[in-house]
């Protein structure tokens, strides 16, 4: 049996206390222990971006982070983006601009896009391309993903929040 450690953090706005094995990664904790399956395992070695979450506001490959390192932090997963008022500006843009095909990479791309928009609401297309470099998508050829994030920039300029 592996050694476990009690940790606490905020997950999608909710205070969370949990005991996790010290060798567990954050992605396994989120998917298998906390049963939030929206965050995807694509490769398990930080190459595909499908497991992207926000940790204290920064986009992170959760497969590369130890679960115990979540202690005291604020985590946001794909399940934490929509509000009772509905899906976020970027989530809606992904739908309206055809950025989703099989959808397996989509949660990671939406999280990465959300991070980029919050960092810099005035993103250029070049910033977007560079910003999603670490997220692999096999279906769309990225074009519509880039258009969706650019459309969200435009929406935010008009006054919607990221």
């Amino acid at each position: 049996m592996s050694i476990t450690k009690a940790i606490s953090f905020t997950l999608n706005g909710q205070a969370t206390r949990i005991e996790v094995p010290v060798d567990m990664d954050a992605l396994t904790m989120i998917r298998d222990v906390l049963k939030l399956t929206g965050t995807k395992l694509g490769c398990g070695e930080g190459e595909c971006g499908a497991c992207t979450i926000l940790v204290d506001g920064t986009a992170v490959n959760s497969c590369l982070m130890f679960a115990v390192d979540c202690d005291g932090r604020e985590l946001t997963t794909i399940e934490g983006l929509a509000t009772p008022a509905g899906r976020s500006v970027l989530q809606r843009a992904f739908v309206e601009h055809g950025a989703v095909q099989c959808g397996f990479c989509t949660p990671g791309l939406v999280m990465q896009g959300t991070y980029l928009l919050r960092q810099n609401p005035g993103l250029t297309v070049a910033d977007i391309r560079r910003g999603i470099e670490g997220n692999l998508c096999r279906c769309t050829g990225y074009q519509k993903v880039i258009e969706a994030i650019a459309a969200a920039v435009h929406e935010i300029e008009k006054g919607d929040r990221a």
Binding site: R31, L36, T37, G38, T39, K40, L41, G42, C43, G44, E45, E47, C48, A50, T77, I78, E79, L81, A82, R87, Q91, R92, F94, V95, E96, H97, G98, V100, Q101, C102, G103, F104, C105, T106, P107, V110, I128, R129, R130, I132, E133, G134, N135, L136, C137, R138, C139, T140, G141, Y142, Q143, K144, V145, I146
Partner: protein, 766 residues
């Protein structure tokens, strides 16, 4: 009076119906499903390329706490699977590739299952191995399967005309050998399956298959369960691209584990396993000889190809079916011969992959069109236009092009990219390390199914409820390509209902009617036609009932915006929901439910591979502009101008996505992706070393749709799922020639390979 104007959904930008749930993480892929009591299965794969299994000792694995079952071939019926029926799910006596499955474990957790695999001891006796088709064809080469002592499980031969006459009539004859490499699908969701038996012995498989109905038939003998006791449920798929068209060993293995444990079992691959143990695109050595007259008339084409079949036979072996169509029929060629030898080796084996052999065939044919043009002093566009097929032609292979936008595609792509001028200017001579090039290439591909079984049909059941909600049960699978949205569009259009009133059910063989499967770019055409016809039947029924109630001729009525309206004025006369309720309650006791089985007007090919195998064909041309750094070998794709004959655009948003995704997949095939196989082993089973194209590398893509309105297509549409990936790599090869004057005959164009080829050419190798 409420007037509802006539509107159409066809050709509009319709967001995919399944997209909202995919942006919120609500969509549950197989990776996200857990059944109560579910165990985790893992497969032990051999580390030998060719060996006899002397002994397998599973005792330590069985003794590990948390392990529920350990199985080997001895615990299974041993019935082989796959297209060649040469691949037992668990190998008992012999392994032939490093992916070979030799034992499997079901345990409480994945970690325990992995630990148990490490405890299994296997004793081997190594056998001589063979890693190239040429070695495997030599007399005395190691034999892979006793049934085929020559290592040749299949050959394919096609011909028309008189090759010798064609060669004699040619003013210029050229010959080249092209080498097309291994790439793999890289679905973002890895392979997985869940199998569970109920107490009566009914088996439910949660499968990623692209062929749910044939799957039941094909897996039944392998697992010893009759097909009528198998239910296939298809959770949303994390990418398909043809990779799930065959049954692969992990699926029956999961069923065996579920049977022996009497618990649900899930097997999920790791990414490394996905690279090593899922199918590849068919690697090919392609020798092509072609001749033209001085005026550019193509006279003959003679193709000989060698397919590395790997250790077992999956669909990759049958890609010649598609290859020969491009060789015989993309351009008019009066004399033609095609021969393929499929050869067993101890390498990985290929399955089907978007384009199905056509990327490889088009690479050879379109490289040659450029070389022939140069040889007779024509520009590449002019030579292609001179030989391009036109509407109404039936090719010597029997393919009937009722509609054919090839010439328009060529001209549109050339005009929009300023091809002729740029091509001539680039060739005029460039100095400095960075060279610009432009290349062009076209394609033909089936666009109305491929009649390779006794039927190429698809069933639909359409039912309307009393609130005018339509439920469409279709046999056609959604694999991310957007088929359910297109099907909903057709139904909504016919029934005058909003898209939000259409529910498409497409994931359960116990509920949905039969379909061949999602392959051959057939779903929009065949499932679309099926849904459209079912909806037309329901429309006729509704209009007849409305006519009776309103005392009007049904021909004067129309369905719009959820209402029966006067067709001329658009005046709303009756709510459709109310009409349906009246059918239930007003003494008629009727439901509005229709069925359709759509069979396309195509035929199976005869023994000579002749016949109109598809109801329609898709055409397209891509012009690609690039820069190549001749000092580093780095190729930068700058712009893709794509013109595709799609019949008719149904969902503009969806079809743009298909073209863009296909083009980028083609760019990856040409420039970044390379599954490196050395002595049977995959050297780069991870995304760090197997490079997919990433967002910063994606060029501008200018797409034009040519609408040829196919008379058999639903609303005129053709299938285009595969088409955009097909001509990209060879357009890049042609652009590289335009930039450097060096012909590239071997994929991929990674910097080291480009540099090597440039040096080789500088040393005088043509």
């Amino acid at each position: 009076m409420t007037v509802i104007p006539k509107e159409t959904l066809i050709g509009r930008r319709i967001p995919k119906l399944d997209a909202p749930a995919k942006t919120t993480g609500e969509t549950r892929y197989i990776n996200d499903l857990a059944l109560p009591g579910m165990l985790h299965g893992k497969i032990l794969r051999t580390d030998r390329v060719h060996a006899r299994i002397v002994r397998i000792d599973t005792s330590a694995a069985r003794a590990l706490p948390g392990v529920h079952a350990v199985i080997t071939a001895a615990d299974t019926p041993g019935v082989p699977l796959g297209h060649g029926r040469d691949n037992p799910p668990l190998k008992g006596d012999r392994v032939r590739t490093i992916r070979d499955e030799i034992a499997a474990v079901a345990a409480d957790t994945e970690a325990i299952a992995a630990e148990a695999l490490r405890l299994i001891r296997v004793e081997y006796e190594d056998l001589p191995a063979v890693f190239s088709v040429h070695e495997a064809l030599r007399p005395g080469a190691p034999v892979l399967h006793d049934r085929h002592p020559d290592n040749i499980p299949f050959t394919f031969d096609y011909s028309h005309g008189d090759l010798a006459a064609g060669e004699q009539a040619s003013d210029v004859v050229i010959e080249d050998t092209f080498k097309l490499h291994y790439v793999t699908h890289c679905c973002m969701g890895v392979s997985g399956v869940i199998a569970t038996f109920d107490t009566t012995g009914q088996l439910t498989i949660y499968s990623q298959t692209q062929i749910p109905f044939l799957y039941k038939r094909d897996i039944a003998p392998v697992i010893g369960v009759p097909p009528d006791r198998i239910r296939v449920i298809q959770p949303p798929l994390g990418g398909g691209f043809g990779s799930k068209l065959d049954i692969y060993p992990f699926e029956p293995i999961c069923v065996f584990l579920a049977r022996v444990t009497q618990r649900p079992v899930r097997i999920l691959f790791t990414r490394e396993e996905e690279f090593i143990a899922s199918p590849t695109r068919q690697p090919v050595e392609f020798t092509l000889r072609s001749g033209v007259k001085k005026d550019g008339t193509l006279m003959f084409r003679d193709a000989r190809t060698l397919h590395d079949n790997g250790g077992y036979t999956s669909w990759g072996a049958t890609t010649p079916f598609v290859m020969m169509q491009t060789i015989s029929s993309l351009y008019r060629v009066p004399h033609c011969r095609y021969h393929t030898t499929v050869v067993y080796t101890n390498n990985p084996y290929a399955g089907s992959f978007r384009g199905y052999g056509n990327l490889q065939a088009t690479f050879a044919v379109e490289s040659h069109m450029d070389r022939l043009a140069e040889a007779v002093g024509m520009d590449p566009l002019a030579l292609r236009l001179k030989n391009a097929q036109a509407p109404g032609e039936t090719t010597p292979q029997g393919m009937h092009f009722i509609t054919c936008g090839l010439r328009d595609c060529l001209q549109t792509a050339a005009e929009r990219s300023d091809f002729v001028k740029k091509h001539a200017t680039n060739r005029a001579g460039q100095t400095g390390p960075i060279r610009r090039g432009i290349g062009i290439a076209s394609l033909v591909h089936v666009g109305g199914g491929a009649n390779i079984y006794r039927t190429d049909g698809c069933g639909t059941i359409l039912k309307l409820d009393d609130f005018a909600q339509a439920t469409v049960l279709t046999g056609a699978s959604e694999i991310g390509q957007g088929s359910e949205t297109v099907i909903a569009q057709f139904v909504a259009e016919e029934l005058g209902l909003p898209l939000t009133s259409i529910q498409v059910v497409n994931n359960d063989t116990e509920i949905t009617p039969w379909d061949v499967g999602v392959h051959a770019s057939r779903t929009t055409f065949i499932a679309g036609n099926s849904a459209l016809r079912a909806a037309r039947k329901a429309r006729t029924k509704l209009l007849a009932a409305a006519g009776q109630q309103l005392g009007a001729d049904p021909a004067t009525l129309d369905l719009r915006g959820g209402h029966v309206v006067d067709a001329t004025s658009g005046e709303a006369r009756l709510e459709i929901g109310k009409l349906i309720r009246s059918l239930h309650f007003a003494g008629k006791h009727e439901v509005v439910m229709t069925t359709e089985y759509y069979e396309p007007p195509s035929v199976m090919q005869d023994r000579e591979f002749k016949g109109n195998v598809s109801a329609t064909y898709a055409f397209g041309t891509q012009a690609i502009e690039l820069e190549v750094d001749t000092e580093t070998g780095v190729v930068r794709i700058q712009k893709v101008t794509a013109a595709h004959d799609v019949g008719r655009v149904i969902n503009r948003l969806g079809i743009e996505g298909q073209i863009e995704g296909g083009v980028v997949m083609g760019i990856g095939y040409a420039t970044t992706e390379d599954l490196m196989v050395s002595e049977g082993r995959v050297l780069n089973p991870c995304f760090r070393d197997y490079k997919l194209v990433t967002a910063p590398e994606v060029p501008e893509i200018d797409t034009t749709f040519l609408e040829t309105l196919d008379p058999h297509g639903p609303a005129g549409a053709k299938g285009v799922g595969e088409a955009p990936a097909i001509p990209t790599a060879v357009a890049i090869a042609n652009a590289l020639y335009n930039a450097t004057g060096v012909r590239f005959r071997e994929l991929p164009f990674t910097p080291e390979k480009v540099l090597r080829r440039l040096r080789e050419a500088a040393e005088g190798k043509p």
